[in-house]
């Protein structure tokens, strides 16, 4: 078990490191922060001064080593724009993002899974077909289209809810909806197919044949078996708690990580962009790790057998 956890952990560290390196290289190659920060009209001497101040005049591998070294000591760099520590800027924005993504995650779980399970239990009925159509609609409409549509209907036409900004709970209603519809569709679809598959398994018939109540057949015999594929999807959703809000935050002018990322990319504020990407990679990797451990807990066949 310890060997298993260690190997997974090692893989996680390698993944984060790879993302970090990739982001570093791509960002250095994609445009000069000095030009963007200082504007086109400044003298060359000012540009050179900026570059030497941020170490941009060094060869890329020297910059890279320095970057790695500071990461390892817990230093995520300083924003080229605000001169504040990048990590502080990022941490400051996290609560706002979570304020959208966590309710959205709950909405996805609370609507997607029951809809999928219900459709599976009424396989080939009108309800089932309805769920399929809605779920396809849900995950094929891009969230920016959906966001704009919601604004158009609820803010512009009916004036019920604010079209953007941050403050009261009303402000978060439309972004949360825009963010969760796709996930609800995906979860409904996955839960449905997982459940249809499980309901056709001989052990479900065994449970019925032994006189187990129908609701217990579903809750205690079928659902735990359908959980593995569902958990995979949910794990992915948990992993994108931080990264999943970029587009919606932009549309609704929500002051979260997503907006910070967009602004920082535009400004070539490299330390902040790197810090955010690192953060996103870390959440993804951690949620993957949790999912891997959950698999073993959910399905004894995947569990280590050395214990016996």
């Amino acid at each position: 078990m310890i060997g298993f956890a260690l190997s997974k952990l090692l893989r996680a560290v390698v993944t984060v490191f790879a993302v970090m390196t990739f982001a570093f290289v791509v960002l250095r190659l994609s445009g000069d922060p000095a030009q963007v920060m200082l504007g086109p009209d400044v003298p060359t001497s000012a540009v050179d001064a900026f570059r030497s101040q941020w170490g941009l005049d060094q060869p890329i591998w020297v910059q890279y080593l320095a970057y790695i070294q500071s990461i390892l000591t817990g230093d995520f760099g300083v924003s080229m724009r605000d001169r504040a520590p990048a990590i502080d800027l990022v941490m400051e924005r996290i609560p706002a993002t979570l304020q959208l993504t966590i309710p959205a995650l709950f909405l996805k779980l609370a609507l997607g899974i029951p809809a999928g399970v219900y459709a599976a239990l009424h396989h080939q009925s009108a309800t089932d077909r309805g769920v399929i159509v809605l779920s396809i609609l849900g995950f094929t409409i891009p969230s920016f289209v959906l966001g704009l549509l919601l604004v158009l209907i609820f803010s512009v036409t009916f004036g019920l809810l604010p079209s953007g900004g941050y403050g009261s709970w009303q402000h978060s209603v439309l972004p949360v909806i825009a963010m969760s519809i796709g996930g609800i569709g995906i979860l409904a679809r996955f839960s449905r197919s997982a459940m249809i598959e499980v309901m056709g398994q001989p052990y479900v018939r065994t449970a019925s044949a032994k006189g187990v109540r129908w609701s217990d057949v579903i809750w205690r015999h079928a659902l735990p078996n359908a959980a593995v594929p569902i958990v995979t999807i949910v794990g992915f959703m948990v992993g994108s708690l931080i990264a999943g809000a970029v587009i919606v935050e932009t549309i609704f002018s929500w002051p979260g990580i997503g907006r910070l990322l967009v602004v920082s990319v535009t400004n070539r504020d490299l330390p902040v962009v790197q810090c955010i990407l690192l953060m996103i990679a870390a959440t993804m990797v951690v949620s993957n790790l949790i999912v891997d451990l959950l698999y073993g807990w959910l399905d004894p066949r995947l569990r280590m057998q050395a214990a016996h």
Binding site: P202, Y203, R205, A209, K210, V212, R213, R220, N225, P300
Partner: protein, 333 residues
């Protein structure tokens, strides 16, 4: 005479409008061992899945299913749930996938004990271990806490049998219980089923495609073809002299382990598609004895001498199977 445990009358099943079972009349007396024989698609399993309400929603079931005199068909789910696993237990063909992979076997047996005998806690655990021991699971108390994937196919079928016994059923329906198992394990399970029946006095319905396996554990047998019973009777009478051409064909098609290496006598053609059934007797297109009348209407299952019933207009003359068989063999050699 004690009343029948189960009485099926005119039981029909259709899947999405296609009839697959065309009116089954069948009684199971207390304690008797009944065999249901036929090839895939003949309806032998569907009959019992329908009787217990275990078919998927797309199936339409009509007719009557009486369990100790009480009608079951069309009754609400809880009524059926009380019968299933209690009065009537069922085990299936593929034991390894018939146990829930995410639940410990002990828990699966305890669940049946709680439902049908109200046992919980230590009492349930002790009884489950006793049952596992009874069906021949070695080291039962340790294996109580093990997951199904750690059991072999034969052991899984033993666990299934233990679970079926948990409700102290009056009737055990065994649906091809040995088909997926290796020969030597198959013999063990047949032996176990026969021993348990002798010990508990429960009735057994043994569903199988294997005439040999049926003759080892049954007293009476029904032969099914394309959703109907075509011949039924005490096993000795029927196996001594099968009279329906299909039953007869089944016997002739089985290769023999002893005797000379004779050419087999297959039944020509294939089983008809349920969507495209012949107009009269379903077997007539493959039958060497069929006449014009056979194509017109379906022959009824009629009682004969010696407790036999038969649905055939031109049955095989009632002479013992062995001499005829010998003659056929000689003709071939």
């Amino acid at each position: 005479m004690r009343p029948n445990l189960v009485e099926l009358r005119g039981l029909t099943v259709a899947f999405d409008g296609t009839p697959v079972l065309h009116g089954i009349d069948l009684d199971v007396a207390p304690g008797e061992a009944l065999g249901l024989v036929g090839e895939s698609g003949c309806g032998k399993s569907v009959t019992w899945l329908a009787a217990l309400g275990l078919l998927p929603g797309k199936a339409t079931v009509t007719g009557s299913v009486k369990v100790v005199g009480r009608e079951m068909l069309g009754r609400p789910r809880p009524v059926l749930e009380g019968i299933r696993g209690g009065r009537i237990a069922m085990i299936f063909q593929d034991p390894s996938s018939s146990l829930n992979p995410v639940l410990k076997v002990g828990r699966q047996i305890v669940e049946a004990l709680r439902l049908h005998r109200g046992l919980v806690g230590q009492a349930a655990k002790a009884e489950a271990i006793r049952l596992l021991d009874l069906v021949g699971i070695p080291d039962a108390s340790r294996r109580f806490d093990i997951f199904p994937h750690e059991f072999s196919g034969g052991q899984s079928q033993r666990v299934m049998i233990a679970m079926a016994l948990a409700g102290q059923p009056d009737l055990l329906i065994a649906d091809e219980p040995t088909t997926a198992l290796d020969a030597t394990i198959q013999a063990q399970i047949l032996d176990l089923l026969a021993a348990l029946r002798a010990e508990t006095g429960m009735a057994t319905v043994f569903i199988s495609h294997d005439l040999g396996a049926v003759s080892q554990v049954c007293e009476r047998v029904c032969v099914m073809y394309s959703g109907r019973i075509v011949e039924a009777g005490p096993i000795d009478t029927l196996f001594e002299a099968p009279r329906h051409p299909y039953t007869r064909g089944l016997f002739d098609a089985i290769p023999r382990l002893d005797g000379p290496r004779a050419r087999l006598i297959p039944i020509p053609g294939t089983v008809p598609n349920p969507k495209d059934m012949p107009s009269g007797c379903a077997f007539s297109p493959r039958c060497a004895r069929s006449s014009d009348a056979c194509n017109e209407s379906v022959p009824a299952l009629v009682a004969q001498a010696e407790g036999r019933s038969l649905a055939c207009r031109n049955p095989v003359p009632g002479q013992p199977v062995k001499p005829t068989r010998q003659k056929l063999l000689e003709a071939v050699l």
